[in-house]
Amino acid sequence: MCEVLELENISTKSPVIESKYFIPNAPLHSFAGKAILYLAHNISTQLPYAGLKNLAKLESFRHFQVNWDGNGALPFMEAQIEKAKLILFNLPKQPEIFPTARQSVQFEYEKENGDYLEFEIFEDSISCLQIVSGRETEHQIDESEIFSVVNNFYASARNLRS
């Protein structure tokens, strides 16, 4: 038996995480299975709570109805949320996550010095906006490149400090 975290009980205001017991041979394609993989992958390198909070936020997008933004935005499709979740599992650092009214999910990183990195995840493409030291680039990116782009974004700051 191993312990998993109950995502539905995670709130930004009261970080109470209720634990439950779980049978370990549950299929890994299940949401709980992915959460376990996520924890195993990230527990030594970053804040698991931030990742779980992001997963819970992504899950909440499922409940958006037509006109969720008051301006006629459409609901998210299941495949979009799943795609964003899989990307999230593989990130070296947790972003801020936002929905958009053009059926995309936005991942944001922002440093105190104003440097900014954004991925906008559509069903069939991903765009990347990066602003570093005032220099801006915006282009399409492959899912496999995201990890290294995030790493490089933060590595540049470490190099400058050293």
């Binding site: 008051g70 801020e96 958009t100 009214a101 053009r102 944001e108």
Partner: protein
Amino acid sequence: MLQPEISDPELLYKAIKPLEHFWKDGYPSSAAFKDSKGLSVDRDGGRPKQEIIDNLKSRFETIAIVSVLAKTCREIGTYPVSRPLEANIYHAEIHRSETEISLTSSLAKKLRDSVIIESLE
């Protein structure tokens, strides 16, 4: 009478909801300015600010209201255009250009960086 062209000194008001999904460090994310149908805003049309805010509040539930000058929209490269509706003659949209609707990520970020928070509930 409301002019069909949006003049540079006009303020454009944007209602943002739901709050809990768009807010970051006391400011909206640029995600709140991305809409495939064009970013929906209300022109001031010479109305008092409080009247505009009260009107937006009456049409939306829990929201934030931000504003930006039409001139600023043009300076950062977006294209504000009047789109009056039967129910709201002050309705306008901010487009990417004269021929393209949805803002690029860069334009949405610039717009987000330019807005002023008028009301936050």
